[in-house]
Symmetry: C2
Subunit: 470 residues, 2 copies
């Protein structure tokens, strides 16, 4: 990182932690130059960068000020309270309508489940794809059947090992995105009629998979900061036979919650006590803010009961459809289930990602992406605070690209969803994140979009929400 980028980060951190409040004057070029022992031109470069990131603004002949529109804080959502009995799941059409809305290029996709492809390193990836497939070695499936390409499994293993998570290449099965890893896992450990513990609110794909496999769901309450309520999970485990727990330990979708290390350990121990497998969806882990990679619960799995699922789809290349499972004791069953349903993942894409990772390009790009997402969370939170009705609450994730917004109870976000579509904006309404139809006054927003689109789109949704209050 260059000197001016370091300086910009110091100032950004002061803004985020409220040391510099909105409207405050930022130290002058001369002051900052003296304070930090850098040249005036370095300070100027840093301030220019902060201005382009939307954090400060220049006023003519007066210097730089913290943007008024940064860091208006709303309270966090209250812990969720889903019904505690197990229920059959019936997914409604809204989910498919939300997924379809992602495909309309004229909509601002605040409801999308992926960051905008404009944030991805398209050119470098394309170079890797072309370099890795130069010799025409990728058309044959012969040596790349499940568990998948060895170079790629080694590259993934190396990332885990470096982060202190003991995952060897032989532990990994490459899949068509994390979604396939998750559904194959669920299919492997649960039989029709079985009960699965899921988060509430939680990822709608879990609901879809449960419905498709004819399982039942028991929804566990969530804290918007700390994740799943383990006391409630234990009660559920006591009350009935549960075949699996499907859980996002880091930057949960839609809340953004992250379990602490000790809580992850407690989760693994609790489930091990009841011999219940944990299906850990960890697709957002690489998008942490700050300096510390959040380990998965898998890191504390002595008994092989944790099936870790992840992918490159949220942080690098959704279109490549490459994910993986680290299935512990279920390895052979899941490898076979993969062979029986889709045989293997796309070979050219596996080779491209192996090349991209081995060249060390991923980390360099991720550093920039994390910074950008952290900035944009701040900007979007502030825009919500500015434009949404009084009484709105909002989550404060430490990674990922989702905000969970809790509106006053009288706002029906399904109605808001339809109104926003008419205005060219999609949102993800709360009810799609639960089988029991809760969260009718909540919604999920995606801040992983081109910056220019965020502010006006949030303003539009806020205006419509205010109108629904009347």
């Amino acid at each position: 990182m260059k000197r001016y980028e370091q300086l910009a980060d110091v100032v950004a951190q002061m803004i985020r932690s409220d040391v510099l409040a909105p409207g405050d004057k930022v130290p002058s070029i001369r002051q900052a130059s003296a304070q930090h022992g850098v040249s005036p031109s370095t300070v100027f470069q840093a301030y220019y960068l902060l201005e382009s990131r939307g954090l400060i603004r220049a006023r003519e002949r007066s210097g730089y000020y913290v943007s008024e529109n940064v860091r208006k804080l709303l309270p966090e959502p209250a812990p969720s309270l889903p019904i505690s009995s197990s229920t059959e799941v019936s997914v409604n059409d809204t989910i498919f309508s939300v997924l379809d809305a992602m495909q309309h290029p004229e909509l601002v996709p605040l409801g999308a489940a992926f960051p905008s492809s404009e944030l991805f390193p398209l050119d470098k990836l394309s170079q890797s794809l072309r370099r890795a497939n130069r010799v025409g070695n990728s058309a044959g499936a012969d040596t790349n059947l499940s568990p998948g390409n060895e170079l790629l499994r080694r590259a993934i293993s190396r990332r885990y090992m470096t982060a202190g998570v003991p995952v060897s290449p032989e532990d990994i099965i490459i899949t068509n995105g994390a979604l396939e890893a998750l559904t194959l896992s669920l299919q492997t450990v649960a039989q029709p009629g079985d009960v699965v513990a899921i988060e509430s609110p939680g990822f709608y794909a879990a609901l879809q998979a449960i419905q498709m496999l004819k399982l039942k769901a028991v929804e566990i309450p969530m804290d918007s900061g700390a994740g799943m309520n383990l006391a409630a999970l234990e009660e559920a485990l006591e009350r009935q036979t549960i075949s699996a727990c499907w859980c996002m330990t880091n930057f949960q979708n839609p809340l953004g919650s992250t379990m602490t290390t000790s809580k992850k350990k407690a989760l693994v121990e609790l489930l091990a006590k009841y011999e219940v497998p944990l299906i850990e969806d960890d697709v957002y882990a690489e998008l942490y803010f700050g300096n510390n990679y959040p380990q998965p619960a898998k890191a504390f799995d002595d008994k092989g009961l944790v099936i870790l699922c992840s992918s490159f789809s949220k942080s690098l290349a959704p279109g490549y459809r490459i994910g993986w499972a680290v299935p512990g004791r279920y390895f052979e069953k899941i490898r076979r289930a993969k062979l029986m349903t889709t045989l293997s993942a796309c070979v050219p894409a596996q080779l491209a990602l192996a090349d991209y990772l081995h060249k060390g390009l991923y980390d360099r790009y991720l550093r920039k992406l994390r910074q950008l997402l952290e900035d944009q969370q701040l900007l979007m939170s502030t825009a919500v605070a500015t434009h949404f009705p009084p009484g709105t609450r909002i989550s404060r994730p430490k990674g990922g690209f989702f905000l969970w917004v809790e509106l006053p109870a009288e706002v029906d976000t399904m109605a808001l969803y339809r109104l926003a579509l008419e205005q060219g904006v999609s949102i993800a309404p709360g009810p799609i994140f639960s089988a029991s139809g809760d969260y009718s006054h909540c919604l999920r927003l995606n801040y992983g979009l081109p910056r220019a689109a965020l502010g006006p789109a949030v303003e539009t949704v806020g205006r419509l929400a205010c109108a629904l209050m009347k």
Copy 2:
């Protein structure tokens, strides 16, 4: 096609149809030149090509003769007689062992389910992959969610339309190979406990899917030339409620049988009478010998009850994992099932295949591949006739790359499978093609391999089979 290639084809056809028998002298260069009105050098080029294809041999100072090792004819297998009650399916480990054996590069994969990648146009495909992904447009999933990339759907539609099969781009869902199309189809039309009619012997993936989805199978008898016995199918439909019929109408795996057009019509009508969907696996259709593309049963589907599934995996690029479904009335259900399990197929691979097809490269390459496979079927049939025990029968498919070999009843092909592996050759033993454990004296051989490897490998298996007779 060049003049000498046309001439070579005329002579090859005479050999295949026994007008020229093994050992016969082929017309001299001078005779042929006069007969066909071409220059002697054109005849020489044609004979040189036929020699390289293994069909004729030069004898010093004496001219060209039909190879002794060409076209020794064995009788075709008898029609199959599976038990007629519906059964639960339990797939044994042999299938996975056969799939694993494909991945060992030191084995000659006579048991493989794909042609060798050496037969694929690796360089041209790689060029298409690189050309189509030059601009880095393929990392985002946004506009390529199920039903899949529009350019590719248009290219597939054009092939069908040209062949007189009315399939529009809007009718197609792109999948991760035909296997995903087939399993999603089965999952969509059948519920746990339901009965599915399948071919016997039939594709083991159907058995795997039936087991995974907790269905039951009723195995319908097959004729090695004409395919499924429709009278037996009708009896089964009369006897019980059947939720789906899974069938390969062209170059069936493993028999190689093909239904006539009128039989395909009759199949569609019969199933329509009982309102039973047909899951039509048509992955080998492009590998027809001769001049006539064999239409799928889907061509005669008025009621939208036929789900046509196919792919590029058997004829172009297995490693790309791109297939499709044409689901008729089940379109929306299957599109949603795809979204719920794997979201979309790999975008760079879709773009590459769209480019390859739009450039007109597929037809040019297929013409060569079909010729090569037709030659190699002849060579392998002859090698089997030469080296296998007396009493052996063999199928005579008019396309594809499989031969079905029926050995004398005392030969246990599971034992043969294990012995052959020790000698560095894999075969696909008969029992993996049935839930009822029949076909213990049968096996499937793949002639879509580099020519040099075929003869010695067949000789090895034949020698081992003879030893098992004693």
